[in-house]
């Protein structure tokens, strides 16, 4: 009797897991499937469940028609800028939070955490005014600056957690040998926390890659649209075939998935530990 119950329990848990897997994977599969369907199938005869792989050859031309490379290049520029800027600021801030005691340390941690509850929509208006003054509207640099403010604190938490875990003695002996604090950070700490730095960089890169709200309000010139804004616009105007929109969305999604899988372990430990300590 007990044995039967156990077998049933195992079967049930396998079944639930398979269900979860199907639900996770299906929308991505459907994006792929839709990108290979014709308009007639999509809006008339019905979408086939198996993908029309014979049409893969048409996809590059479709993507070229919507200028996806230009859009992705803008996204890549924003993402790279956010990553580099966040990295420089976050490594130093994380080092300070991990290695020093100073007045205002708790406040600094809270200020960094508080950026995670700021509704960007509230800041859009004042930032719009600020950027208008400095000629940063309609510029990718402006988008880099705005997004870094929200991405950098996450990088601080991830990197600080990693620095907390390495023993201080190594820096101490370097210090005794006359190594400057900047040298200790650059030559000892940074090489020891490389995996977490990679994780922080990937997270920041995809914050920039994901950026939509600021671009949607600040950018007027179509040539400067990131892929997120471009895709949302294509969806709204019916002149772009749905299959093309989906192919572009898939191309926009794949790099994110690949990079994320490479560093998910570091991301998770950094995010949780960072948040636990505020």
């Amino acid at each position: 009797m007990k044995k039967i119950r156990k077998v049933v329990a195992i079967l049930a848990s396998r079944l639930v897991l398979v269900g979860f897997l199907l639900v996770s994977a299906f929308p991505i599969y459907w994006m792929f499937n839709t990108s290979l369907a014709s308009d007639a199938e999509l809006f008339g005869t019905g979408q086939d469940f198996a993908p029309h792989l014979e049409r893969v050859g048409e996809v590059p031309q479709k993507l070229e028609d919507v200028g996806i490379l230009g859009l992705l290049a803008n996204s890549a520029f924003i993402a790279t800028g956010v990553t580099v800027l966040s990295f420089l600021l976050a490594v130093m801030a994380a080092y300070a939070l991990s290695r020093f005691k100073f007045h205002g340390k708790g406040l600094s941690g809270f200020v960094l955490f508080s950026t995670q509850m700021m509704p960007e929509a509230l800041l859009v208006v004042p930032l719009f005014a600020l950027f208008a003054t400095f000629g940063l509207l309609n510029s990718l640099t402006g988008l880099v600056l705005a997004n870094t403010a929200f991405s950098m604190p996450v990088a601080v938490f991830i990197i600080k957690t990693a620095i907390d875990k390495i023993p201080y003695e190594i820096e101490e002996s370097a210090r005794v040998d006359g190594c400057s604090p900047a040298g200790q950070l650059g030559m000892i700490v940074v090489p020891l926390v490389l995996p977490s730095l990679a994780a922080a960089a990937v997270i920041n890169f995809f914050d920039g890659w994901n950026e939509f709200l600021f671009a949607n309000t600040f950018i007027r010139q179509q040539e400067l649209w990131p892929a997120s804004v471009g895709l949302a616009q294509f969806m709204g105007q019916y002149s772009t075939p749905l299959s093309t929109v989906m192919a572009a969305a898939l191309l926009f999604t794949l790099p994110a998935i690949v990079f994320f899988l490479l560093v998910q372990r570091q991301i998770v430990s950094g995010l949780t530990a960072g948040a636990v300590k505020g």
Binding site: A25, M92, M118, M152, A249, I257
Partner: protein, 310 residues
């Protein structure tokens, strides 16, 4: 490890010139980041709070007049604002509750070793890596009333069309579903990391006692997970209160304002009604909501960790 670090610190030489230098040092490291947040978040936030006490319009952003608490007074008596408030709270509650349950469940299911586990975990994390706009686009298509896969599948079963995004009875449900698809893997990853730190001896001990799976989970695993789950609950809450893209692109706040969360309401007030002052006031109230949640969280968390350590 901490003890050794403290000792190492105590060994530092303490002459006066190095002391004043050391005192300044941490500020040199944290200064740039703080300055950055000040310029791009805190000062704009201050300006936002200031705007919320004016009647500033989008067409003349410099020309608003001070109106005191008029915007707030109008909001607190406005049905539209309270609707937004209720929608935000319902949306957030639904996301937090279901993402925690489903995320924990999938973490537990994937924690034991089996063939293809790495692949399964990768598949389960795909949604979290998918950009928001792509999530919105694919769900828009799947929810499509006449040709989407959901209604086509229902048709096969002989059930009529559902207006996933057009029917006020389904709008919020559909938005929650799409959001859950995107955010649940995050909960799973974090809970999975915590599960892997449960010492094997604990499992062994309960197995020897003859406890079944469920009671082992409740008595041993869950208490171990609680600190992690509380943090994830906080993150899920404050992220849900400010989530914009998915809702904006799926429904834009409709149908009949059933998905009009505070953040969408801010955007509409600012860029459609052109009332910047009013939009800022909603934003300030939304931020207050997040702040209250965070403070309550820290109080509850402190009490709970005290109780758990006893």
């Amino acid at each position: 490890m901490t003890v050794v670090t403290e000792e190492a610190k105590a060994k530092r030489p303490r002459n006066s010139s190095s002391r004043s230098w050391t005192r300044l040092l941490p500020y040199l490291f944290i200064g740039p980041a703080m300055l950055y947040i000040a310029v791009f978040v805190m000062i704009p936030l201050g300006r936002g709070v200031q705007l919320s006490f004016t009647d500033t319009k989008l067409i003349n952003p410099q020309g608003g007049e001070l109106v005191g608490v008029e915007n707030y007074a109008e909001l607190l008596t406005s049905e539209r604002f309270w609707n937004s408030f209720v929608v935000t709270v319902s949306y957030t509650a639904a996301i937090v509750i279901f993402s925690l349950i489903l995320g924990t469940l999938s973490a537990v299911l994937i924690n034991r070793s089996f063939r293809g586990r790495a692949l399964a975990r990768a598949l389960l994390t795909f949604p979290y890596a998918t950009p928001n706009v792509a999530v919105a686009l694919i769900f828009l298509w799947m929810y499509n009333q006449s040709s989407g896969i959901f209604n086509e599948s229902l048709a096969v079963l002989g059930i009529g069309e559902v207006g996933w995004l057009g029917d006020p009875d389904y709008g919020l449900f559909s938005v929650v579903l799409a959001t859950l698809w995107k955010v649940t893997p995050f909960v799973m990853l974090v809970v999975l990391a915590a599960l892997q730190s449960v010492p094997d001896e604990l499992y062994e001990a309960s197995r020897v006692d003859g406890a079944d799976v469920l009671s082992t989970f409740r008595a041993i695993v869950l208490p171990h997970l609680m600190p992690t789950i509380r943090v994830v609950a906080l993150l899920m809450t404050i992220w849900s209160i400010r989530r914009f893209e998915i809702i904006y692109l799926l429904t834009g706040g409709g149908p009949v304002e059933t998905t009009n969360v505070l953040v969408i309401n801010i955007y509409q007030q600012a860029f459609q009604s052109q009332k910047l002052g009013m939009a800022a006031a909603i934003g300030v109230l939304g931020l207050l909501l997040s702040l209250i949640v965070t403070v309550v969280f820290f109080i509850v968390d402190r009490r709970a960790s005290l109780a758990e350590s006893q």
